[in-house]
């Protein structure tokens, strides 16, 4: 039967007409989040003065303070089986993803594939994904930037001086080693994203988390590398593939919640190693008995 959704025990995930992935909790209709892709155009200048500095390997500096939306081709397919249900979504020629729900795991996985980012228009682009929820998080979010404990971040704020940000996007971006999260200020709810690699992230709106996925830039930022961040392979820009694990749950049972939150990043960072042996004899029974 044609369908546009997959489901786990606790939730349903649907693709809407604009290509956004919509998550809904089966028991609590208010627990909803939407995932989408966007991009920033990178700043370019002659690097002579601060205002003319380009976005590069050392600094993220978008040209405007808002993201651009991407055209959506509207292609997806749904796969269902005994272990996993997946939505295979093609966003456009260079962005696609697989959204999956494992039957015996109370988490969602977004496996994104970005690139080669087109730069025929001579504009560098920095691709982000946004997860927008109804959590009332205000201007606070949390990152594990030092790879140890979670640090509280507040939008447009520094704890030890009065801040006036001239660049509101990059000034609110923080390193994410494995985790970025939001807490609801009223309900006992927490929304966490776990990454499989270090990324940059922020929360620019109440209830929203944003992570940088891939960058292709055409100018050096004059901080030392002396090359534009324009990695190439096979005569085209790089393709990157990675995973975000999402965990959105109430924190009534804080013990089990905390255990789960500590397990996920460990499992992502230290995955099992796989070794393959090919028996020279075709008799596989020999191996079963060995």
């Amino acid at each position: 039967e044609p369908t546009n959704s997959i489901e786990g025990d606790l939730y349903t995930i649907t693709v809407d007409e604009s290509g956004q992935i919509v998550f809904q909790n089966k028991h609590d209709k208010e627990v909803v989040f939407v995932q989408s892709f966007h991009y920033y155009e990178s700043a370019e200048g002659n690097n002579k003065v601060f205002e003319n500095r380009s976005s590069g390997a050392y600094i993220f500096r978008p040209r405007t303070s808002s993201t651009f939306n991407l055209p959506y081709e509207g292609k997806y397919s749904v796969i269902k089986g005994p272990h996993v249900e997946e939505i295979h979504q093609t966003f456009n020629q260079w962005i696609s993803q697989v959204v999956r729900v494992y039957k015996e795991d109370n988490r969602m996985e977004f496996e994104w594939l970005i690139g080669p980012i087109p730069v025929d228009d001579k504009i560098g682009k920095e691709i982000v994904t946004k997860y927008s929820s109804y959590l009332i998080s205000g201007d606070e979010f949390y990152t594990d930037s030092n790879g140890r404990e979670m640090l509280k971040r507040k939008r447009n704020y520094r704890p030890t001086w009065n801040l006036k940000l001239h660049e509101p996007i990059s000034g609110n971006y923080y390193p994410v080693t494995t985790k970025i999260s939001l807490k609801d200020k009223i309900k006992p709810m927490k929304f966490s994203i776990f990454t499989d690699r270090s990324q940059g992230g922020t929360s620019m709106k109440n209830g929203e988390l944003e992570l940088m996925l891939h960058r292709r830039l055409l100018k050096d930022d004059a901080f030392g590398v002396e090359e534009a961040l324009n990695e190439m392979a096979y005569n085209t820009g790089l393709v990157v593939r990675g995973t975000h694990c999402i965990y959105l749950s109430n924190t009534n049972n804080l013990d089990s919640f905390s255990i789960k939150e500590k397990e996920i990043p460990l499992n992502l960072a230290l995955r099992p190693s796989i070794f393959i042996t090919i028996p020279s004899k075709t008799n596989i029974d020999h191996w079963r008995n060995a």
Binding site: H83, V84, R241, I276, I278, R288
Partner: protein, 176 residues
């Protein structure tokens, strides 16, 4: 020790701040890739030796006991699993506590038997198509169009489990 030392040296180089943050020049980045690839590839034998040591088995040079790692699983490619109807998978858990984990292997067949050799029972597996865009990644030279998925249950802490996998008869002709 000597083989391991090369690997340690490569990991040492990767501690440089440019390697951690990606602010190295492109030629240096390519050299880092070369270093990592060569050393991981060369340490396959050592990993196999360790596993056979734990299993109290002799790691002889017989092809039957050669172990290979799949360094292109990040683009859903593995010559060993996609070109063979029968193979054995050793799954090592690097964590200090038991875990259960889903294992994905690139394949070409439509249906497989997956046998847990420790529990001595067949386990449920699923075949999932690889996303079209993954198959079109520039430079990917793989015939795999699907992934075989199964759940490795109760992998022991800092230990391993082994699974034998064989294509079901109706799909074996794919590999001839």
């Amino acid at each position: 020790e000597e083989e391991l030392e090369h690997f340690r040296e490569a990991m040492g180089v990767m501690q440089h701040h440019d390697a951690v943050t990606g602010t190295e020049k492109q030629l240096v980045a390519s050299d880092y890739s070369r270093l990592l690839y060569e050393n991981i590839f060369n340490n396959e034998k050592m990993a196999a030796k360790s596993l056979y040591h734990w299993a109290n088995k002799i790691n002889n040079s017989n092809d039957d006991f050669q172990m290979h790692s799949c360094l292109e699983l990040n683009i859903s490619a593995c010559a060993y699993t996609e070109d063979n109807a029968n193979f054995v998978v050793t799954v090592y858990n690097p964590l200090s506590r038991p875990i259960s984990s889903y294992i994905r292997l690139p394949v070409r067949g439509n249906s497989y038997n997956v046998w847990d050799t420790k529990e001595n029972l067949e386990i449920i597996s699923q075949i999932i198509p690889i996303h079209d865009r993954v198959q079109q990644i520039p430079g990917r030279k793989s015939k795999a169009t699907k992934e075989l998925l199964f759940r490795a249950i109760d992998l022991p802490a800092l230990g391993y489990k082994r699974y034998t996998i064989s294509a079901k008869p109706d799909t074996e002709e794919t590999f001839i």
